[in-house]
Amino acid sequence: MLPEPPAPLLRLENVHKRFGRHEVLRGISLDVHEREVVAILGPSGSGKSTLLRCINHLERIDAGRILFEGQPVGYRERNGRLVEAPEREIARIRSRIGMVFQRFNLFPHLTALGNVMEAPVHVLGLPREEARQRAVAVLERVGLGARLDAYPAQLSGGQQQRVAIARALAMQPRLMLFDEATSALDPELVGEVLAVMRDLAAAGMTMVAVTHEMAFAAEAASRIIFIDEGIIQEEAPPDTFFANPGTERARQFLRRVTRP
């Protein structure tokens, strides 16, 4: 018999989410193991970003379960019913999950260094000097060791997004979520951010990335999840998905996004 596979780092069980009467997620189940890079593709409005935001409980879910490191995210089970977890517990889980936003969301009143040091100092309680060293190291890793004292307004979009990645990395997360990290960038700035994401993937970071960059998904992802109308339509390794998609919806989607 094969040995039991290791428990997934992240597990989604039949996740449902509705906004008003519109059901955005209609039963998503997904396992993400350590060192996996999962690319989530799908047409806009298909629920990809919502799914990502549910993972770290920026959105509440209406049904189902999300487990991170085996622990339910945002909820506790009490007598078989789910109740909202205390804020501190949710915050503790979030501190172990990095998130990168489409619009960067850097703190404009802090320098690049200040942005990256903020959470290690005030959430993890690291001494300032240690946090500073850690922040300098991650900023160097994303190629911004020379811009430590720049404010976000003084940086290009690509640089800002790299600071945002550094800010998440400084918490030494076990999982990184990317919510269309390159969609708000000018075309010539996309490459530098994707390069950082590729390096992270190559270094073994577990990643879930909602993306429109098909080339990135094809090269860096270990698995493609194709979502449409709130359900996973197709799940496949990138080679299979791009060469030979199994569903008509995926074929249509690929035709649209790869049209010259």
């Binding site: 920026l58 915050a91 969301n105």
Partner: protein, 246 residues
């Protein structure tokens, strides 16, 4: 009524007299302490105003509704004369609260209602993505407010707060009704006995102008310190540029 010739020498002689300076000092104390407490109250109620729990929001709304909807003059007199009637153990004149303390209380609670709306507008001016980013890093709501949201809200909060402080310097004259010897009451007592209305009102107005001018300078310094300039040299403005970009 005898008409006295206007005497500029009289104004000059009395402008820095001890009794006037005491009045100025009292006005300054009333305004600064009233404003500081008003800002604290305003911040507290603004946080209540954006809270999730409906009863807490309702409490903040009721506070604003009442204290912004009735005249400050009425509130000042109410705190000092009416409340002790309805609630004798409160009684300011029994040594629990002096007229000065009651005056500060009245100014602060009134100011808090205005500051609540100013601070709320400041908080809501901050991109919601900022709170999300803070939370995604593991910050609690409190920590995110303190470290991320409120510092950014300051940009929006400071200019109208400067306005409020200048209004407060002048509104503090209303506590003359409960016998606090601030600048206006000093002038009033003097013109009542000397009948030199013109001179004493010029003295009082002169001092109000000096105080409000200092207040404006302080405001522009604050805007310089916490405004756009603190977000990096590219947006730097010169202090005392009177809002003009260089």
């Amino acid at each position: 009524m005898p008409v006295l010739a206007v005497s500029w020498t009289y104004i000059a002689e009395n402008f820095f007299s001890e009794i006037v300076l005491r009045g100025v000092w009292m006005t300054l104390q009333l305004s600064v302490i009233g404003m500081a407490l008003g800002i604290a109250l305003g911040t507290l109620f603004a946080l209540a105003r954006v809270a999730h729990a409906p009863p807490i929001r309702a409490l903040a709304l009721a506070y604003i509704w009442f204290f912004r909807g009735t005249p400050l003059l009425v509130q000042v007199v109410f705190w000092y004369f009416a409340l002790p009637q309805a609630w004798p153990s409160w009684a300011p004149w029994d040594g629990q609260l002096s007229p000065v303390q009651t005056g500060i209380l009245a100014l602060a609670i009134n100011e808090g209602a205005y500051m609540t709306e100013i601070v709320r507008a400041g908080i809501q001016s901050v991109d919601p993505g900022q709170l999300e980013a803070a939370r995604s890093l593991g910050m609690t709501y409190r920590l995110a407010m303190r470290r991320i949201i409120l510092p950014q809200a300051l940009r929006v909060i400071i200019p109208p707060t400067g306005n409020e402080f200048i209004a407060m310097l002048k509104n503090s004259s209303l506590v003359s009704l409960i016998s606090v010897s601030e600048l206006f009451l000093v002038a009033k007592l003097q013109y009542s006995s000397t009948l030199r209305y013109f001179e004493w009102l010029i003295i009082a107005s002169g001092w109000y102008l000096i105080l409000t001018t200092l207040g404006s300078l302080f405001q522009s310094w604050l805007e310089y310190r916490y405004g756009a300039a603190s977000y990096g040299p590219s947006a730097r403005r010169r202090w005392l540029a009177f809002g003009a970009r260089d």
